[in-house]
């Protein structure tokens, strides 16, 4: 992979005004767009439920429920699977073609900004998963007699946002592996930071199964703070690995700055070695 740069490492690439690597609507655009997508989806579902959760969503045995909530459930599972695999496949295919290309510092900085946009998206998505829907779930279960695993709160929470937690964390790793090889390249091994973050989302999904089994079999009352629910918290703590992602890329940004300084001190063009 060692190559001598043929262009000055920080020579400006043509960017439209305001669309540079560290402009708000340039490199940082995904920081706004990514979270917004999930906020809009959550808001739309929530608004939709306002009108029918207590009339239709309350009885899983009714035909009306089958036509609405159950169909929503199946749509979520299908779309999560389709979108997830499509995105991962795209990342792997595209990633393999670009991973070995030497890029300028400007391009690398833009990619790190993009990466931070993905992390922002994960942060917001996990928030919707771990705070927004659980509040609705608590309010539902402490009020309504428990019905099935498919309640108005469970359906978006467990069957859309939980799977998307996995989709986003794994996808972000793939982006890091191929687009930021100096930080997360395959030769270095599998990053512990991503291992913890991805584990958080995977174990949370697994805990859903245990949760529903317990509620079916022996958990008869609806105390939210029951020890039976605590694995959700413990697995969620693994998401602290997200801080390491910010730290690892900050270290690379400082590394880029050091390379620029060194190049400027020694004359620039021929000094940078990948």
């Amino acid at each position: 992979m060692a190559q001598v740069a043929t262009t000055a490492p920080d020579q400006a690439v043509e960017s439209k005004p305001g669309r540079g690597p560290i402009d708000w609507w340039g490199g940082h655009r995904l920081t706004f767009v990514g979270p917004l997508v999930f906020i809009v989806i959550a808001a739309a579902l929530r608004i939709w439920m306002q009108g029918n959760a207590w009339t239709i969503g309350i009885d899983a045995s009714s035909p009306g429920f089958t036509k609405t909530y159950r169909m929503l459930f199946w749509s979520e599972i299908t779309s999560s699977a389709v979108i997830g695999f499509w995105w991962w496949t795209y990342l792997i295919r595209k990633g393999r073609t670009i991973v070995d290309e030497e890029v300028s510092h400007e391009v690398e900085v833009r990619r790190i900004a993009n990466f931070w946009g993905l992390i922002s998206t994960i942060s917001v998505e996990l928030t919707i998963m771990a705070s927004f829907w659980p509040n609705m779930d608590g309010s539902w279960h402490q009020t309504a007699v428990r019905d099935t695993a498919l309640t108005p709160a469970h359906i978006p929470m467990f069957f859309l946002f939980f799977p998307f937690g996995i989709i986003l964390t794994v996808g972000t790793y793939l982006y890091g592996r191929y687009w930021l090889p100096k930080v997360y390249g395959a030769a270095m091994g599998f990053p512990w930071s991503f291992f913890l973050l991805i584990s958080a989302s995977v174990t949370e999904m697994m805990q859903v199964a245990m949760n529903e089994w317990g509620h079916s079999l022996w958990i008869t009352e609806e105390i939210f703070a029951a020890p039976f629910h605590w694995p959700f918290v413990l697995y969620g703590w693994l998401a602290a690995g997200i801080f390491a992602l910010w730290a690892e890329t900050i270290i690379r940004l400082l590394g880029i700055e050091a390379e620029i300084e060194e190049a400027e001190t020694t004359g620039g063009r021929e000094a940078v070695v990948a």
């Binding site: 939709w48 029918n52 207590w54 009339t55 239709i56 309350i58 009885d59 899983a60 045995s61 009714s62 035909p63 009306g64 429920f65 036509k67 609405t68 169909m71 929503l72 749509s75 779309s79 389709v82 979108i83 499509w86 009020t143 309504a144 007699v145 428990r146 019905d147 099935t148 008869t220 009352e221 910010w246 730290a247 900050i250 270290i251 940004l253 400082l254």
Partner: protein
């Protein structure tokens, strides 16, 4: 592609929603049949108040009262798998879609009962709950009997339509002051919350935005590790210029302001609310009812419970011995939320949860006599309520056989019998 998926999803949901009819069950159909049949026997449940509309809905206004009365028997057939077979603590309540109605008074066996009761298997609990309409809409309201370790069992429900009207939830405090539960101290609670939040916001803004380094430059965040990782962990960064003595002064001021805020709050609550008591735990054992002490009318021994899926008839055969001094007649069979009345005894079914049974012989049983009653029940009602335990691990039918004697006195006998479904014709 995502746009297309979203469009398909929305269209499907919209179409489904257009044809969806409101539900009337609230989770009880997901409870296994044995759980609902072997636990609580609901008899004489009535809703009174407001007026009935042509659809059978009880119409009340916000703030208008209505009453639910009935009797719940904690059956001797109580399963071992619930509350370790020994139900001890109960709570009689209502199930509905949240606080759309509000509890005003509750008596159990004639005694005012705000909270939980100590319960015993085999006993009867006469309840009377007065509620008022609170949230505009059409709600399905059931009386419930919750048992610690088992969960909430639902009785027969009633559609209640609450219409708009001005109302308050008035409570009189110990000092004679009347308050409205809906909004009492709402403003002070949220003012305290917001002021506290603003103090925290000031703290964070100082450190991330307003504060300056020793050289007077805006303070950074992500580039600081270049410095912080090179100084000891227990170094506050003042010597190296990351933080300043001004930071120390500012945090002192904010911490002091916060302490002052809490002190003012404390003084306020101590003077505004001088009398306070801890949350109360009220628990007692209700006295016995007349039914608990009434002489038994019949001793029953169920011989079979057969269900014909094609004919949709559940047929019970029950040996019934009259152990009283008066002729008795089967008045009804009660199981879970359903009551099947015997028209021959002079009663007719009413409401959503009642139907008629066919008993043969239909007449009276004389004192000391034993008759084998064949009771046909419409299977479709069981189907609707998901009460026929076809795919479940406990295939039993349980319920209360309610008998009445010549003077009109009633008493019930429990029956439990393995279900014999006829799977093929």
């Amino acid at each position: 592609m995502m746009k297309r998926l979203a469009a398909v999803l929305l269209l499907a949901l919209g179409t489904g929603l257009a044809f969806a009819t409101p539900a009337s069950a609230h989770g009880e159909k997901s409870q296994e049949a044995f759980l609902r049949m072997r636990t609580i026997g609901w008899t004489d449940v009535t809703f009174s108040g407001g007026h009935m509309d042509p659809n059978g809905d009880m119409v009340i206004a916000q703030g208008e009262k209505f009453t639910i009365k009935g009797t719940a028997k904690l059956m001797n057939t109580w399963p071992d798998s619930l509350a370790k077979g020994l139900p001890r603590i109960g709570y009689i309540n209502v199930a509905t879609q949240g606080p759309c109605v509000e509890m005003l008074t509750r008596t159990v066996n004639g005694v005012s009962t705000p909270s939980r009761i100590e319960i015993t298997k085999g006993h009867y609990y006469d309840f009377e709950e007065t509620l008022m309409g609170r949230r505009v809409g059409r709600w399905h309201v059931h009386p419930t009997f919750a048992v610690k370790g088992a969960g909430t069992l639902l009785g027969p429900g009633q559609w209640v339509r609450v219409t708009p009207h001005a109302f308050t939830s008035s409570i009189k405090l110990y000092n004679g002051k009347t308050i409205n539960l809906e909004n009492y101290n709402l403003v002070s609670v949220w003012t305290l919350q917001v002021v506290g939040f603003l103090l925290g916001l000031i703290w964070i803004f100082w450190w991330t935005w307003w504060g300056k380094t020793a050289k007077g430059n805006p303070r950074r965040t992500v580039t600081n590790p270049a410095v912080t990782l090179a100084i000891p962990l227990n170094d506050d960064g003042v010597a190296v210029g990351l933080n300043t003595k001004k930071d120390h002064r500012v945090v002192n001021i904010i911490a002091l302001a916060t302490a002052l805020f809490l002190l003012i709050g404390w003084i306020w609550q101590a003077s505004a609310f001088p009398v306070k008591i801890p949350q109360q735990v009220v628990e007692y054992e209700p006295p016995l009812t007349a039914q608990d002490q009434a002489p038994t009318l019949a001793a029953v021994d169920a011989r079979s419970a057969k269900y014909d899926y094609q004919a949709k008839v559940l047929r019970l055969e029950v040996d019934t011995k009259n152990v009283s001094n008066s002729p008795i007649q089967l008045a009804s069979f009660v199981t879970s939320t359903l009551t099947f009345v015997n028209p021959a005894s002079g009663t007719t079914p009413y409401g959503q949860y009642q139907d008629a049974l066919k008993a043969s012989p239909s007449g009276t049983i004389q004192p000391g006599q034993t008759a084998t009653l064949t009771i046909d029940l419409p299977g479709s009602r069981f189907d609707e309520e998901h009460l026929l335990p076809r795919g479940e691990s406990q295939l039993t039918i349980s319920g209360l056989l309610v008998f009445k004697d010549a003077s009109g006195q009633r008493n019930s006998a429990e029956m439990e019998e393995p279900l014999q479904p006829k799977y093929i014709s």
